[in-house]
């Protein structure tokens, strides 16, 4: 069959289309058995590369899109889907905000309200963690320490320097962000492993220092933080701080979203995907990592400081706890680090579970086992988190745009192509067939 390997004799309807076709389509369609006609979706390995067909051999400018027929409708569909997606998102966002904001008036007692504050605090911390973890893929187990620094910084600025509570909070967060520069410099100059080591070492060294330096920090006796609103009763105090945390969460989410859609964010995600490659394309990876680490540290410190003002009592053992850091990781990972709301969802699940565990089982070492096992299960079986899984499920059930719009279009496009190939198989006159068949 002399014509089989020659792409120029391919029937015009199917030939220039380099799209992946389904296996059954290839068996019936009268396509030349070149590699390009093989099902690319199956990815049989490097040897059978199904590269784009040399449709406009040598003159790509003239060809524009190799299959102008399908590209245009696909593009319009992207836009249409984009509009639907926007509406879905806006509705979801309003519903979420309404749910968060109405919680205080629905909470049956002050304890539940305070649990809500704790969960929101976790949500802010985990979202702050996700600036580094989600964008760059660098896992920090030490963010608990940054929150602790924010808390102690705020408390010390109030008690020792006599600053007003919220001025102290802002200054403390700023100081932690400044401190994050040398820490990040040491941690980020080389790749991941040293970052992890520094993040753990940070918790351990700060615990050591804050426990030993009792004259400043109160050591293990603790440090009492004056309340910012001394006139408020306990439920009112919780309510006010609930809204403060909600506001901070909104701010953190907004910042994450802004970075997510910026060029800076694309560079960070490139680092996560392949740091060497990102650098070879001209991304100043070290500077990018450092900047986002500092931003993350600042938000984490804000949350830690706000917690100090709310809770009113700091103990190094809880402030500089590696376990706190691991909760943040677990939450973000469980929800989905690639998603804006992943850490929030994770914080809702894990935070509520932690509170429940505390009430139900008290302070047994079993919560360590539960945390460890859950973390291991997530790492092994669900490293992308629940949100993508739910998104995929929703896609399958309703065909809506729950996850990435682009992914859907790609899948859609492929499906359409398969259908198209089948039509071709029917449409091609039978006379052409015998020549292609094996003797």
């Amino acid at each position: 069959m002399p014509s089989a390997s020659d792409p120029t004799v391919t029937p015009a309807t199917t030939g220039p289309d380099p799209a992946p076709t389904s296996p059954e389509a290839t068996t019936t369609a009268p396509k030349p058995p070149t590699a390009a006609a093989e099902p690319a979706a199956a990815r049989p390995g490097p040897a059978t590369a199904a590269g784009p067909h040399p449709a406009a051999t040598g003159r790509p400018e003239s060809g524009a899109a190799p299959d102008g027929g399908t590209t245009t409708p696909a593009t319009t569909r992207v836009l249409a889907r984009g509009r639907v997606g926007w509406i879905v998102r806006a509705v979801a966002l309003v519903a979420l905000a309404a749910a968060v904001l109405s919680f205080p008036s629905l909470a049956p007692n002050p304890y539940i309200l305070s649990a809500g504050v704790v969960v929101l605090n976790y949500a802010v911390l985990s979202t702050s963690w996700n600036f580094v973890g989600g964008f760059t893929g660098y896992i920090s187990l030490g963010h608990g320490a940054l929150a602790g620094l924010g808390g102690y910084g705020t408390a010390l600025l109030v008690t020792k320097a006599g600053l007003p509570s919220f001025v102290a909070l802002a200054v403390a967060a700023l100081l932690v962000a400044v401190l994050a520069v040398p820490i990040g410099y040491a941690a980020l100059r080389v790749r991941g492993a040293s970052f992890v080591i520094v993040s753990i070492a940070l918790v351990l060294i700060l615990l050591l220092v804050f426990q030993s330096w009792a004259s400043l920090t109160g050591g293990s006796r603790g440090l009492v933080v004056p309340r910012p609103f001394p006139g408020l009763l306990r439920p009112e105090h919780h309510r006010v701080f609930y809204f403060l945390f909600a506001g901070l969460l909104g701010l953190a989410l907004l910042a994450w979203w802004l970075i997510d859609r910026s060029r800076f964010g694309l560079g960070l995600k490139a680092i996560r995907e392949d740091e060497d490659k990102a650098e070879a394309l001209g991304t100043p990876t070290f500077a990018y990592k450092l900047v986002v680490f500092v931003v993350s540290a600042g938000f984490t410190a804000l949350a830690g400081g706000l917690y100090a003002l709310w809770f009113g009592d700091l103990d190094p053992v809880f402030q500089f706890s590696i376990l706190t850091g691991s909760y943040l990781v677990l939450m973000a990972l469980l929800g989905g680090v690639r998603h804006l709301f992943g850490p929030l969802v994770g914080a809702l699940v894990v935070g509520i579970a932690l509170e429940y565990f505390k009430v139900e089982f008290g302070n047994t070492p079993l919560h360590l086992v539960a945390t460890g096992v859950l973390l291991a299960l997530v790492v092994l079986f669900m490293p992308d988190g629940v949100l993508p899984a739910i998104g995929a499920l929703a896609n399958r059930l309703f065909g809506t745009t729950q996850s990435s719009i682009r992914e859907v279009t790609a899948a859609q496009l492929r499906e359409e192509r398969t259908a198209g190939a089948r039509v071709d198989a029917v449409a091609v006159p039978g006379g052409a067939q015998p020549t292609k068949e094996r003797p």
């Binding site: 187990l141 492993a193 080591i197 753990i200 047994t364 070492p365 945390t371 291991a376 790492v379």
Partner: protein, 295 residues
């Protein structure tokens, strides 16, 4: 200025402590060399071994040293299984990060189970020879510390001979240096990696027994060990076993000497200072180890 005898005593103690650090850090850096894994659970296994030694002594009445007959093979097997069943499942692209979380999860689980089984109470082995000591040029050295050092030294020497003199050691070193190249010359790197992990955990079993001889143990003690050990392997150059051993001796000595003017708590900060200084000024470590440049 401290007296000569005190100084001498600190040097001796630093040497003895450095030996134990060296053994444990060798295990930790071995995992990293083999798989680019920072094995957070290493020190949790160390404490587990110490508990098993304590348990066999108080409940079964056996000498803690004898517990190694069980713990060393047991830990070796656990290491092989850990590598083959859990770590090998992780995606290569995110291996370093995800393995940290996985081994962290294991560490926390072990800590929780130890707390559940033995409560958080501090435990200590009471040995017949526990309080024995002898004088050396005015320094007093406890016999158990010497035994612990001896254990560490023998284990390190065994590790050294294993890596330098055996075919398996050659395969292991080749796997650490260049995994793909090792595979090309016919080394079954997966199998070698599994056994390498087993050996790493076996060092934790020996170290734990040595630790139990003269230290008070409790479930969360492993956090006090993992920090210094991680600092040591960075200073020594990630993945380099001789580098780790050398850094361990130097930092162990430094800690021991700094205890004279600073006290035990602040002397520990030397590890973290060394860690930050190394990463900021010489990320590839001070004692060889080219791997570290990129991790």
């Amino acid at each position: 200025m401290p007296s000569g005898a005190l100084l001498f005593q600190s040097v001796i103690l630093g040497l003895l402590l450095g030996g134990l650090y060296a053994l444990l850090a060798a295990g930790l850096t071995l995992y990293f060399g083999i798989m680019r894994v920072v094995m957070i659970a290493h020190s949790a296994f160390l404490i587990l071994a110490a508990y098993l030694a304590w348990w066999s002594h108080t409940r079964l009445g056996v000498d803690p040293l004898l517990s190694m007959v069980v713990t060393v093979p047991l830990f070796f097997g656990a290491g092989v299984l850990l590598q083959r069943l859990l770590l090998a499942r992780l995606r290569a692209a995110t291996l370093t990060m995800m393995s940290v979380l996985l081994t962290f999860a294991i560490a926390v689980t072990i800590e929780g189970l130890l707390g559940y089984a033995f409560t958080g109470t501090q435990r200590r082995i009471q040995l017949g020879y526990g309080s024995a000591s002898f004088g050396l040029f005015g320094a007093r050295i406890a016999v158990v510390k010497l035994i612990a050092f001896g254990l560490a030294a023998v284990a390190l020497l065994t590790l050294y001979l294993l890596m330098k003199k055996t075919t398996f050691g050659w395969a292991l070193r080749a796997t650490i240096q260049h995994r793909d190249a090792a595979r090309l010359v016919g080394i079954e790197t997966e199998k070698v990696a599994g056994y390498g992990f087993g050996i790493g955990l076996a060092t934790a079993a020996v170290g734990g027994t040595a630790l139990a001889l003269d230290t008070t143990i409790y479930p969360s003690l492993h956090w006090h060990w993992i920090g210094p050990l991680m600092a040591i392997i960075v200073v020594g150059g990630l993945g380099s076993v001789p580098g780790a051993a050398m850094a361990a001796m130097v930092l162990g000595m430094a800690q021991s000497l700094l205890q004279i003017p600073l006290g035990t708590t602040w002397a520990q900060t030397i590890f973290y200072l060394a860690l930050f200084a190394t990463l900021a000024f010489r990320p590839q470590g001070f004692f060889g180890g080219r791997l570290a440049q990129r991790f």
